[in-house]
Symmetry: D2
Subunit: 409 residues, 4 copies
């Protein structure tokens, strides 16, 4: 039986667990050490540390303090790992905690985090998903069942001071480029920082510059790549002695883009992993960002309805080869389509955020329109969503809706 090196107690606040942290900083002490070749288990909180509840109100989604996320388990030191190496991580298995067989998805208020379609869905909404072995369903979104493509939304190694400085500098430059716009990037914020085993002045000092965990960066981090699923094998750049691997933000299922932002189907759980080292691997393979091999065990969905979008926005404005605009249109097109079968727009949006939909960068050179495609698997629906000459049937009667919590004044 592999050893569980980090445990989390869902009844205790995440900040009280010193094997957990919510910032990236080279001074965070290793929570534990392993040898290359070891396999072991790390338990994790959900990304919010338990703030979002299994209930029928979206108040928690509306009210969350996003400076607190993400609560990560680690860092795990790997003996012998040196800067310039590649840390090879095999995700042998991942699961939910047995006392927490559910997850959540939602949209943040436009005033507090937003999401990919926040202009269309500006208020906080939530759906709860129950896990049935390898499958999930929601009491708020009828008619769909997914086989879980379980993965960590966030995994990576500690930065060294130079890398950290690079991150903070370039992100601050973006913030400074447009002071009138809030939320362009999230600078360090000491107030809610949890620096693991680091205590006292050292913790305060590190917290002042500790990088926020929201964006993916050179080390991987919060990539939210659905295909980093259990069974996959990842090659991470190493920046500090011992590598310092941390993981969290587990997802039971997610679509490409994680467009709902609050998030995928978010859960507390555990990761069983094995680590090894490729000495000098960064230079040998020319690695800047992580690379990975996909899992040999994934949902085999292969029938889709595919939606196209181009880089002309909802108002008809033309953009130059902008994949974001194109993908947004493909998503909106899919939502309109699903509404014809009876889903509310919010439910359709949630499906795109939680089901294993694919988002492809289909064409990116045909001036001025980028073309993106959204692949909606048909096999997740209890009914037939294919187009036909007869037209769509309203299988969903609208009696079930997602909780919504309007912004407080």
């Amino acid at each position: 039986m592999p050893e569980t090196l980090i445990k989390v107690d869902l009844n205790q606040p995440a900040p009280s667990n010193e094997n957990v942290h919510n910032r990236w900083h080279p001074d965070i002490p290793m929570a534990c050490w392993v040898n290359p070749g070891d396999d072991f288990v790390l338990e994790t909180y959900d990304w919010t540390g338990g703030f979002i509840k299994n209930d029928d109100s979206a108040d928690d989604v509306r009210d969350i303090d996003l400076t607190t996320v993400h609560y990560l388990s680690g860092p795990v030191g790997v003996k012998g790992a040196k800067p310039g190496d590649l840390l090879v991580v095999e995700l042998l298995d991942i699961g939910a905690k047995q006392d927490s067989l559910w997850g959540f998805n939602g949209f943040f208020s436009k005033k507090n985090g937003g999401g990919f379609l926040t202009e269309h869905f500006p208020q906080a909404q939530k759906s709860i998903w129950d896990f049935h072995g390898m499958f999930t369903t929601s009491r708020h979104i009828p008619g769909v069942k997914y086989a879980g493509l379980i993965h960590p939304g966030l995994i990576g190694c500690l930065p060294d001071p130079a890398m950290l400085e690079t991150w903070n500098t370039r992100e601050q430059a973006l913030i400074d480029s447009d002071p009138a716009t809030s939320g362009l990037a999230n600078p360090p914020f000491a107030g809610t920082a949890h620096m693991g085993k680091l205590k006292g002045d050292a913790a305060a000092k590190a917290a002042a510059t500790g990088a926020r965990t929201v964006p993916p960066r050179e080390h991987g981090g919060n990539c939210d790549i659905k295909d980093l699923s259990r069974g996959s094998k990842i090659f991470f750049p190493v920046y500090v002695d011992g590598a310092g691997l941390s993981v969290g933000d587990l997802h039971f299922s997610q679509g490409d883009g994680e467009i709902t932002f609050c998030g995928a189907i978010e859960m507390a759980g555990w990761v069983h992993m094995k680590v090894s080292i490729i000495k000098g691997g960064m230079a040998m393979y020319g690695i800047k960002n992580p690379i990975f091999k996909p899992s040999p065990i994934v949902p085999t969905y292969n029938d889709y309805v595919i939606f196209e979008g181009i880089s002309v926005d909802e108002s008809g404005k033309q953009y130059y080869l902008d994949v974001n605009v194109a993908y947004r249109q493909a998503c909106l097109n899919a939502i309109e389509y699903l509404k014809k079968f009876g889903y509310s727009g919010a439910q359709a949006y949630s499906i795109l955020g939680t089901a294993p939909v694919q988002g492809h960068i289909s064409g990116v050179v045909d001036v001025p329109n980028a073309c993106a495609t959204l692949w909606l698997p048909t096999q997740i629906f209890d009914f037939d969503i294919n187009p036909s000459a007869a037209g769509p049937t309203k299988f969903i009667d609208g009696s079930v809706q997602m909780p919504l919590s309007p912004d407080l004044i």
Copy 2:
């Protein structure tokens, strides 16, 4: 045997064929008519109408006049199709012309078209690909063989006058928004317009406003979606009586994004298709852009090395959730990786443009970094490109290179 409704003679110039056109305009007469339920064959030129030759010089790629493209076969009128309907097109089969079993790929000069990585590959280069039944190899890029994911880069129906006006207006607005930058969009250009059967003044008048074929738009058009492959089924919006379906720009194989722009593996060939109509389908299904069902017969490649990219550019500049920047980084990361196995950068770039690589919009909400992934199928290589502790082997010795034609002063 299905009837070949449009024939092309590769020894005759494309503009001499009146069943071919290179602009979108509602006045272009139908080249032929069919009934719903009919299946038939259309032959097509390659997108350049034969300008690019099967030789070892990139001069043609450098010197091409891009106002001439794309030469499309059609429009085909479908009896009974009315605005608001969906035209259902089943791509029953697609192939190269038997007297032209080869294709080309290349990069345009930065001064004449460019491409996704034109800053890195600013000069014209070309590779020629030979077809061996369902497979292709190149004499300019050793060590790879692909099973063809054959598809039309360009297919769609004629716009009505209002739609055409919308296109021209919004694209001109983009051009006007930054007059100092050329190539933001391509306005109508009568000089090289070929309006099919339309002749004389009527042709000249239509040519003056005929939309260029380069961008994908609401009608589909030049989507360059590799998965619109033979066997797929597409649902096109109809804007004019008879629909007016045209097709061209056939690709033997292409990667997501068609990043090399000159293009995929471009070929002359034929399309065997069947058409039917869903009356009033646009409103019934809420359709703005085409939707489609993928083919049940596609290459089964499912082992990949996957590269991540984030929206920080090569110079270290931070962008806000920009998928284009992120995908560019993933592509550059893959190129660096392939160079370790002996490929030139240009060869690696060509592989990404021509092989059935996937480009996924992996994360698009984690401020400020978008995350994109590029999936490189390992099974297309004659050797093992997986990372290992032993490091990469230089299987490619550099003795074979791609033709390059420097810009003329």
Copy 3:
């Protein structure tokens, strides 16, 4: 363009074509020679040489003289191939002849060939299948459409005299073991033998011992393996100088077992192939029978209803680990199931013979019952054949039936 080395004219009788033969014998002269590394095209008759017609009567299926089959194109000599080598054959592409875009399936009369379920379907029946690009449908069997898994039913190299002698001896021993039962094996029969370019006495002499083409043997031959499809790569044992590769019996689609015997969806067509040699490969790899690599381009059907069968026959008799009995039960179970949706038994049987159904040897050690499974792809049906609490719907109304020709007295 690859050269077509052997042509067949469907308007001329197969026996008049000297590049065709219907027996295996080392004395049959090579029809043509190629070099290792060459790729080329061979045209083929359907296996009956055109005896079965595209009409609505099964008389031809009832009346066929099975001593005439199979008409094979070849043998092709490969320069340098020696006994003990492996001949590597890449099936680059396969298609129907453009003047013959249809195929047939049927059941022979129990009195003339029979089939796997001949006790249940003892009379001659036939269905005709039209090809629509990569797809096929039948005017005799509504509600199904298959993407073609196109393959040669029969391909292999010439035996040497010793191998031929082995075949004839062991098959005669089987015939002799039970003289009262006809059809246990088919001995040489000179009357209808066609020995290719061999003429006169030499032809007569060889015909007297030329092995019939019906069974698969060590050289491959009539394996009827649906997965030897276009795109696959086969490694054949070589017994004679030049190998002597022959091919025929093309199938547009077939299920595992080819249970209907008359046959798959049988067609005339062409094979584009490439050959090379592994010197001494038989000993190096311990090869007795051919081995092969599957095609990377195959129908992606992956949703099935799976039927179990055990080795207890229809009468309740217990057999000892007999996979044939078990598979027969699985087939009969599937037929009963399909009848609930409105198909006749004959139509259901035809579907199992022609669709890309899988037949698995699931358990073969659990005394006394073997267990076999038949995998019926759901995606070939126009309607939903999954079981549900509501019970089956009779989508097929019985108005269309397969031609049947009763035995003549």
Copy 4:
């Protein structure tokens, strides 16, 4: 959290657990009851009830008393299930017990059980497999790692008295048909029967006629179908009120045929399942044996080396369309092939028994030779097993071998 309705303690003998039984008989009382729609967990012993140990001796495999198997958990009563219904079982998830993360495979002595290739491997041998999350490797068989296709080898409902009588009668008839041959079938044997909660005289009476669990039968039972994996959905015939569902014989991985007989990779574990009922489903769908839908989450291995076998045995004897003989030859061909890479024959045999190899009934009508194919996935090997002109490399050096325990005199 789903309730665990049946627990097993691996430190206690299986016969001491009254929620376990090792015979089929309608009088066995339900171990527990559930409602349609319930999901729940059953723990199970390995099929031998813990007799085979995690060590390096095959003595236990040699010495096992096969009258004791299989120890099944159940029967579970489903309220409302009536004879003629279909019991729908969704296998939501399956895993090994956390205190027993290993499994075994082996060959029985020819004198005690044997196996598919017992003439070639007549002595007891064993291999132990360790589980690493979703993967498994063996310390006795180097160079392979499998993603687990986890499934129950044995699952089904209780027979009614008439069905039981049918089984016993027909199996006894087989035994009686050839008294000189032992092991044709296994008649009831009271000595080692464990009848669950049934006690005293009632137990003794039932044990006298309780059907052995070895063969698959109409109710499913010991089908050893690898594709009944976690995620699949099975439709079982119901014969008694409450259905009486039992399950056991869990496999971490297995090849088609379970040719090694001692078994797949056998393990103790748990099954999370959900049950529902289709009233009158047997008649509605014409069901005699179970049918099932495959799992949407399975290993995606799709690259194979495929071996053919025909129904001529090792001595050259010709059989009439005998799939067993053909599959045996395909297996032997694969073993010879693997030996060229350094494996012992026993190791190769074990790989065929434990890896997710496919066994297809490829041709079953081409008199007199059946053709079977064995599909060996290449992606399970640490090295390249594809054939090439260079010949095979001995990657395996023979330093690791499987334990063998010779028969005692």
